[in-house]
């Protein structure tokens, strides 16, 4: 069950000619796939295209009605390999994943797919997680397109343009027998807008049809000597075909006055920001009407030399606006101009920053600097001369606290890292390898655990070099999530550790979902899923790989148990990798699942227990040791209002879900007895009610008796 349900929104996918579709970017892309007669779809979740996978999963019924096959792929490599169905058959296929991390995983399949080429249109929708707020390393997908010779679209970021790019992409792919990447930025995926819908199309050939009538063309199979021919075909047939298509179909757009002395060449994805910058410089209105000559590259690879040369003709200077590093587009244009003996001044990186996101201010500054130098007369006087005195705004950078992301309220992974902290307090610090997933928040305060992250499912693999000559010496600890485990970890990490007789400790953090990407089901999910087989055991899989020392912890909130198990793994005499599978359900997903159930049960008069934690503020001494082992959003500090006390005390707010971590940590770390668990019972049984009443009576009597004999606060 994914974090967000699109069950209602996917009904919009049924819209046809004459309807105006309104919704998010990802939903629009899905609709475009159906309008273009896609035959099969696959992918792997990850921001910013997680929701695209969720949309597809929720739309499975609509897809199958049209004869479209959908798969939640095991990894990006699987997804890309899936496009093999378009190699010999005229079937359109689309896959989606996060770039560049997904593209890295996919690159083996991508090379093979690109070499042999395709018959049916093959579209790879890559969600580009670049710039501010990104959760990954900053690289460009562009290099993959160049090295594998696949084409890359980067449409203007509005729904009609994105929808059009899907259709163009399929056509381009078919005409040039080449897979096509469609790049969408993180904000384009979540942009809310409209476009005119068209009718959905059944694929002319379905994957079932293909199975019934198998076909193969020897020259599309990647094996020498065909591979040499592929290379030649890429250069002599596919590339020219693509360039011809780009020109004839006017994929790239020209705006502004064509005879201007200066011009801008930009990636489609940056169009809106560029227009806003021009608007703020007084050179474009809010509808994008401008005199500035602009070539908008909705296809950023390949570039068509003639088009670029034509644009530069008669110009004094051009500015290439290309986000990210290296500046591949600018380099190619420079190469074209030099070879063509042109004298137009080429500007790009330098006027604009070498790296980083091209935000609004960056664009204003860059274009402003370009125009100031090459066409100062264009800039309105009011933009460069001011008599406004700048207002000195106080510098708050020293005051504001950082707000790093952390585990959610009630997260089952928090106690695992609290336990790790406690083990380190006892046994000293260890080398810890982390992995990709929510558990990576362990690197942040208050845990500050983990030294490297090398890729999805590669946590234990990245500890592979750490072989201790002393068999009783210190071992490394590595973490991998259940998502990473199934994606890649089982073979690359666990299998590798077994095969190489590693003595290190591997902790598999199992929260029943691919949680960080929005709670999609995976092989070991505990829920039953109509279209997927779940409930495969991680422990069995590890045993199958040959792991001998393995422990399953079914309740990660038992900090003492996690601590003791980890300690045992670090100190046992037994050889070979020590694997701990620490399992408890992702609290976000659990709450989403359980809350409505409990509310309904309570309404129906059934006995329902709601747990919550609290702190006795008279007992709390304000040391906050509990928070240094927790970081729970619902556990915070508050004033007592007592002039006799200096420090704020711990307090738990209404958002507490009663996971138990506070009490367990206080117990395992022997902190303080101020925590209590309150369980509120709705619809208690008659016996329970009577017992509670009787106990209360006796307790009150005892309290009254005591108070009669002493001075105390009532």
């Amino acid at each position: 069950m994914a974090e967000r349900s699109f069950a209602k929104e996917v009904q919009k996918l049924k819209q046809g000619q004459g309807d105006t579709f309104s919704g998010e970017g990802i939903l629009a892309i899905t609709k475009a796939l159906l309008e273009n007669g896609v035959g099969y779809v696959g992918g792997y979740q990850g921001s910013p295209i997680s929701h695209l996978m969720d949309v597809l999963a929720d739309a499975e019924e609509i897809l199958s009605e049209l004869g479209v096959h959908f798969e939640a792929s095991a990894s990006e490599a699987t997804a890309t390999a899936m496009l093999a169905a378009s190699v010999h058959y005229p079937i359109r296929g689309a896959v989606t994943y996060k770039s560049v991390v997904g593209t890295n995983v996919a690159s083996d399949a991508l090379s093979n797919l690109a070499s042999g080429g395709v018959t049916g249109g093959a579209l790879i929708i890559v969600g580009e997680d670049y710039g501010e707020g990104s959760s990954i390393m900053q690289e460009r997908t562009y290099a993959f397109a160049m090295k594998s010779q696949v084409w890359m679209l980067d449409p203007r970021p509005n729904l009609p343009a994105i929808v059009k790019a899907v259709g163009d992409g399929f056509e381009l792919s078919e005409i040039s027998n080449t897979p096509v990447m469609l790049q969408v930025g993180i904000r384009s995926c979540h942009v809310h807008g409209n476009f005119e819908a068209a009718d959905n199309k059944r694929p002319p050939m379905t994957v079932s049809d293909a199975l019934e009538k198998p076909a193969r063309q020897l020259d599309r199979i990647v094996l020498p000597p065909a591979t040499y021919l592929h290379e030649e075909e890429k250069l002599t047939k596919r590339l020219p075909a693509a360039k011809k298509f780009i020109i004839e179909k006017e994929i790239n757009e020209r705006f502004g006055k064509p005879d201007a002395k200066v011009g801008l060449i930009l990636q489609g994805g940056t169009y809106n920001t560029v227009i806003r910058a021009l608007n703020r410089l007084g050179l474009a209105d809010l509808y994008g009407d401008t005199d500035m000559d602009m070539l908008v590259l909705n296809c950023i690879y390949p570039l068509v030399d003639s088009q670029i040369m034509d644009f530069c003709e008669g110009k004094d200077a051009i500015l290439v606006i290309e986000e990210g590093h290296p500046n591949y587009v600018e380099q190619q244009i420079a190469h074209m101009l030099y070879k063509g003996g042109k004298s137009v001044t080429l500007e790009g990186k330098g006027k604009l920053p070498m790296g980083g996101e091209y935000t609004g201010q960056v664009m204003v500054d860059g274009i402003g600097a370009f125009l100031t130098e090459h066409a100062p007369s264009l800039l309105p006087v009011a933009k460069v001369v001011t008599n406004e005195e700048p207002v000195a705004i106080p510098d708050l950078s020293k005051t504001l606290p950082a707000r790093p992301p952390g585990f959610c309220t009630g997260c089952p992974e928090r106690p695992i890292f609290a336990a790790t902290k406690l083990v380190e307090e006892e046994l000293g610090e260890h080398h810890i390898s982390s992995d990709i997933g929510c558990h990576l928040f362990s690197i942040m305060p208050p845990f500050d655990l983990g030294a490297t992250t090398m890729g999805y499912g590669l946590g234990p693999a990245s500890a592979a070099a750490f072989h201790n000559e002393n068999p009783n010496g210190r071992r490394s600890i590595s973490f991998v999530g259940d998502g990473g485990f199934w994606h890649n970890g089982l073979t690359s990490s666990v299998g590798n550790a077994v095969f190489n007789k590693s003595d290190n400790v591997i902790v598999i953090v199992d929260n029943f979902y691919s949680a960080a990407t929005g709670g999609q089901d995976i092989l070991s999910s505990r829920a039953t899923n109509k279209t997927k087989q779940t409930q495969s055991s991680i422990v069995d899989a590890c045993k199958g790989m040959g792991v001998k020392w393995i422990r399953q912890i079914d309740h990660t909130y038992d900090v003492t148990k996690v601590r003791d198990t980890l300690k045992e793994a670090l100190t046992t005499e037994e050889r070979g990798p020590k694997v701990i599978v620490a399992s408890s359900e992702c609290m976000l997903n659990k709450q989403r699942r359980v809350k409505p159930e409990l509310a309904k049960a309570a309404k129906d008069g059934k006995r329902v227990v709601r747990p919550r934690f609290g702190v006795d503020e008279d007992i709390c001494t304000g040391d906050h040791a509990c928070m240094r082992l927790s970081g729970c959003p619902s556990l915070s500090v508050k004033d007592t209002g007592d002039p006799l006390r200096d420090d704020p005390v711990a307090a738990i707010d209404q958002t507490c879900v009663g996971c138990g971590n506070c009490g367990e940590v206080a117990d395992a770390a022997v902190l303080c007895p101020s925590f209590f668990q309150a369980e509120i019972v709705s619809n208690p049984s008659t016996g329970e009610r009577r017992r509670a009443k009787r106990n209360q009576k006796i307790i009150s009597w005892l309290q009254g008796r005591r108070d009669a004999k002493r001075v105390a606060f009532a």
Binding site: R187, G360, P404, T517, T621, G622, G663, E679
Partner: protein, 516 residues
Amino acid sequence: MNVQNKPIIARRSAGPDGEKIITLAALAVGGQGGGVLTNWIVAVAEANGFRAQSTSVAGVAQRTGATIYYVEMCRDTGRAPIFSLSPSIGDVDILMASELMEGGRAIMRGFVTPGRTTLIASTHRIAAISEKTTPGDGRIDGAEVIAAMGIAADKVVAFDMETVAKEAGSVISSSLLGALAGSGSLPFSRESFEDIIRKSGRGVEASLRAFGDAYEIAKGTKAAPLPKETTTVELPTLHIPEKLKSKWSALESRVQALPEAVQEMTALGVRKVVDYQDVDYGADYLTMVEKVAALDTAPYDLSIAAAKYCSRALCYDDILRVADIKTRASRLERVKNEVVVKDDQVLMVTEYFHPRFEEFATTLPRPLGKWLQNRKSLETLYSKYFDKGRRVRTDSLGGFLTLWAVSSLRPYRRGLLRHASEMAHVDAWFKTVLDVAQNDPELAAEVLTNYRLIKGYSDTHVRGMSKFARVMGALDLLQGRKDAADWMRRLRVAALDDVKGDALDGALATVKSFAG
């Protein structure tokens, strides 16, 4: 970062028809419902004949980091405006911040521009992790941020929208929307906002209440909720049985006899001490305060410190105290209020304890405890079989009676081993205070305040004792110096906010370097 220093005056231009784009950014802490808020705003805009576009960065299940939502809107003229996908420095018309520091962050990032931006910010605080993990008080004072708001924004609408929402039984997205509508920064009527809330279909009544309250406050037709600091804290009432009334009044008159400046703190202190043990203990406390007051002169800062920290020193945290508090009637009432228990519901309360051998032995009569402390074999035995977490259900008779039994040892506390060691420690400290006070009352006040370092249970307590000892160890080096009090304060601050003690080591080294 600061747009004001940029050479280019980059203001948005209107369309040929005079139409303008309105830009709105919302900065929220993950999990605050920023998505709901943006959807509402888009819906209101569209209902009023505007085109609107919203974007956000979502997808990772991170619930505590700062996130930005962004909306642009423009009157629908039949042509599609080119909307930007993210907020730009100096280009935001309306900035909404759902927490005080996030409002500050918006200013720091240049999203609040003088002469342009209406800043709508909730002034409540959600403590960041660094503020929570400091052993002392790590919270950041918001005054600087509030001051910056006044300078940076064109118009400020700032009040505690979290409290407004809570009091209406709703969540902050409703009160933020109300503040937005009430600020008048969007050309939409109150009714059109309310219609959208009604259409959302969930918790409509509560949302409308929160919206309405926030709307009125933003308009200025209703008072904002008072900040917590200015509301007076209600002191618990001291219950005095008839038999003990005269004894208690004797204490009260002794408080009255103290210099006026010291009376308030001493009155609080004596109540705390008596509540902790008994009236005689209160008399002991007053003797301590009186001794210090005798050496003190106006403005009596030293005596006030004595009133505060002597009460703290006498009321050390032990099992008896914990058991006493957990079995009080007032405590049960507080828990009930805190977790919201209705009349037809039953409350179960589980306490988390982990008594070690140390706590067990020190809760015994002094000779027995001493004897036991020297028996390593018994300690091993205890650690093996008894040193584990205990869950005690205080709503059940068995659990309650267990704690009740422990709490009823209170009259015998003076005979327990723990009391002997605590009092030895207190006496030594208090003697030092009196000695120091002869020559340097300011330093003596700092020595009193050092007792703040001792807090907590088990390891935390041990760590506090050791910090205290190390800070006090510098006394000999400092005594006689003019700046002794200031250095003593610095040492304590270093010790207080530092878990590992690195900062304290550094501070001590500095003291040694000039005093050694």
